[in-house]
Symmetry: C2
DNA sequence: AAAAACAATATTGTATACAATCTTATAGAA
DNA sequence: TTCTATAAGATTGTATACAATATTGTTTTT
């Protein structure tokens, strides 16, 4: 019915149709418009986004590779729903990588990198101020990603990209809101410590920061699985 | 019913058209039938494998996600050719993950896991004896993967899977042959140390083992890019 | 009434057809 | 000759059509 409307929405940044479908799906998952365990019917999604199943499938496969959705042969794709155990394992992995990034970056950031990162912090704050938590979450992730880039190991960047996606999903599933307000100051402090070459302090700040993700989650919480209908509201 | 059951049992390995294309492409790259930088023409591959471009594209996208091939928008897919710098970064990342696996697994392997791993070693040795270095390389990778599974962090497993793919590509590009013969004994020794809970020894063995990958490579070597025609020989 | 078997439907998997883009070869002008 | 413009061909991007499989609902049997 509102096929036309959703299509024009999509073409606001219509640079690359396939990437667009991927990103919209991704965002929809992170912002809980698509709840964990939701079945992702290809045809329905195709109509919602105004594209063919081909592009939907591409996006789903990519999300599958990132483990943001799980795919069952001949049965389709579902929004991933990592249990508490897996969530902790993912956060462990992220901690491992982020600490390695810290060790590479501490005291070695170029001025350009610092400025770049500073800008990312501003953008994240901006989203937070506007109450756009979805965007804020994505920008926070981008800060960490840019930091890894600045650290200079491309492999870490690639790995971290996946882990951040999954972390975002975990926060979406188990997060309780409140805990993320301090994120901005933490990013800022971390950047300072890195710039000053304060190795141990940088490590502790990163650990503390990632620890907030854990403490900000209630792993007992049971998330109800929604339906595709929620997507139309967005 | 029983037919279905046996089929799903078998699907752990392969034998789904799309997975098959992926695996064949992957193996072809690792065994240098498809040299680095080779352009992967979709139509040609489709004809070689006797499937439609659809399946070829799926496989290419998956390989792209694993960074075994690189994709250029509107220009197609090419076999990845990590330069020396990136190769070192990838090996650094792998070292990081493998060491984390060691720390989890040391002294905590179930008897079943140990037996499982022992079997993997045998299989790898078998391939080596037959001079099938491609298979041996893959089995070696599978050993490391199973070890990560036994260690109990699924996220490490997923990350390591990608890193092993890339490591294999690096070995295929820069490897000089000789260095990998000791791999079997090293896997065996490592397993023993892990089983006995010898923490430091396990760490050192793993570091030594991965170090062999580096020393077994000549990063000055320049690899000539081949063409798809080589595939027909396999 | 409950369970099993079957038919009807819906959904995913794969192949083909069409559109958009890039590459290459050719022709013309400086 | 060399450079540019352009047109023809080849290749990738996307949509649609068809095949295989799973799901659902009905009927039949116990």
């Amino acid at each position: 019915m509102s096929k036309e409307a959703s299509k024009s929405d999509a073409s606001i940044r219509a640079s690359s149709p396939n990437l667009d479908v991927y990103r919209q799906l991704f965002d929809s998952i992170l912002e809980q418009r698509l709840a964990p365990n939701t079945k992702l019917n290809e045809q329905d999604l195709a109509q919602v986004f105004g594209v063919s199943r081909t592009l939907v499938r591409q996006a789903l496969q990519r999300l599958g590779a990132e483990q943001v959705v799980v795919m069952h042969k001949n049965r389709g794709a579902f929004v991933a729903a990592p249990d508490a155990v897996l969530a902790q394992q993912i956060l462990d992995a992220r901690e491992l990588i982020e600490m390695a990034v810290i060790n590479l970056a501490c005291g070695k950031l170029s001025l350009q990198s610092v400025n770049n990162l500073q800008m990312m912090i501003e953008l994240e704050q901006e989203a937070l101020d506007q109450g756009d938590t979805g965007t804020a979450l994505r920008r926070s992730g981008e800060f960490h990603l840019r930091l890894a880039e600045a650290a200079g190991n491309q492999s870490y960047v690639h790995i971290l990209r996946g882990l951040i996606s999954q972390t975002s999903l975990i926060i979406a599933m188990y997060g309780q809101g409140g805990g993320n307000n301090c994120a901005r100051d933490e990013h800022f402090e971390l950047l300072q410590a890195l710039q000053n070459g304060q190795h141990e302090k940088s490590q502790n700040l990163m650990l503390h920061h990632l620890g907030h993700v854990r403490t900000g989650c209630d792993f007992k919480r049971r998330v109800n699985s929604g339906s595709l209908a929620n997507l139309l509201a967005g």
